[in-house]
């Protein structure tokens, strides 16, 4: 997860930032986590697995659409003219 964030975001992501964010998301019910079985690759240690909940998917979709809407007409969003779900006008 950390590697994906760093690769796609183009910036480093500290472990502390990642874990505290996950904790907040879990507290809000947007993701759920559980422990996997220990693996040799991890030195015999378990892994924290993460799954996005249905509520998390809805929240992510709303957030994504909100960003698109608010970016419309801006310099960085002017290339986007697609109608978005929820747009009435």
């Amino acid at each position: 997860m950390r590697e994906v964030i760093e690769t796609t975001g183009g910036r480093s992501c500290s472990l502390g930032a990642l874990y505290t964010t996950l904790d907040r998301l879990e507290a809000k019910g947007l993701v759920e986590t559980w422990m996997s079985e220990p693996t040799q690759q991890r030195g015999g240690r378990a892994k924290r697995m993460v799954r996005v909940t249905g509520e998390g998917v809805r929240a992510a979709r709303e957030f994504y659409h909100a960003v698109l809407r608010i970016s419309r007409g801006t310099i960085w969003g002017e290339s986007r003219h697609n109608n978005l779900p929820g747009d009435s006008a």
């Binding site: 502390g16 220990p38 030195g43």
Partner: protein, 231 residues
């Protein structure tokens, strides 16, 4: 940890030992996750050390957003250590008087009662500190040590006489240990300790009892939590 570090040697280098030592600052479950993640990604010991320390710092900051660490360290450990040093001196003075005049029954009663009050009060305060804020116990220890070290630096006696100041330390540590284990006090014991806490300030002669009266809350806390647990 397994595999090889980025420095080419076995991953159990001094750097990784530092990482594992620093991971001791984290909770057990999180420690395992973090060390596992670092072993899997294998980004190097020193970056891992920064990650672990950064995470531990964030965890501490989150804890300090709550009232509990403030109450435990600044509201109790610091003022209570000053109060308990005064009680310890009062109790040890009574014992010294008893040793000079062992036939005096009044001095025997005074010594026993004062020592009993010091021990009970220190245990109560230690229990409250340990149970109110486990994750920031270091701050409470610091809050207790600073006034102790200051008073020890000003102590006029010689040899081991400074121990008269520190009679409360062992029962307080015992209380902290039990508090950290979240021992559920029965209501009867909690009320008894709260009552003892109200009597302890009476051993002060020059108005110090008023200061002690401001420190009733550990006993009240024990009584309140014991009552809630019973419900």
């Amino acid at each position: 940890m397994n595999g090889l570090g980025e420095m080419g040697g076995p991953i159990q280098t001094a750097g990784w030992r530092c990482v594992e030592a620093a991971a001791g600052l984290l909770a057990t479950r999180e420690r395992e996750i973090v060390l596992g993640d670092l072993a899997e990604t294998d980004r190097g010991a020193w970056r891992g050390l920064g990650d672990v320390l950064g995470l531990a710092a964030r965890r501490q900051l989150v804890m300090w957003r709550n009232w509990r660490p403030w109450a435990a360290s600044f509201g109790l450990a610091l003022p209570a250590s000053l109060f308990l040093m005064g009680c310890s001196v009062a109790a040890s003075a009574a014992v010294a008087s008893l040793l000079d005049e062992p036939e005096q029954a009044r001095l025997l009663w005074l010594s026993v009662s004062r020592l009993f009050l010091v021990i009970c009060w220190a245990w109560t305060a230690g229990f409250a500190v340990g149970s109110v804020s486990r994750g920031t116990l270091w701050a409470s220890v610091l809050g207790c040590c600073v006034p102790c070290l200051y008073c020890l630096s000003k102590w006029p006696g010689h040899g081991f006489s400074f121990l008269r100041l520190l009679i409360f330390v062992l029962p307080a540590l015992w209380g902290v240990w039990r508090g950290r284990r979240d021992l559920q006090l029965s209501l009867g014991w909690a009320v008894f300790l709260a009552a003892v806490a109200t009597l302890a300030p009476l051993m002060w002669s020059k108005g110090g009892w008023m200061y002690g009266c401001c420190l009733f809350w550990p006993g009240c806390y024990l009584a309140a939590t014991a009552r809630r647990r019973q419900e």
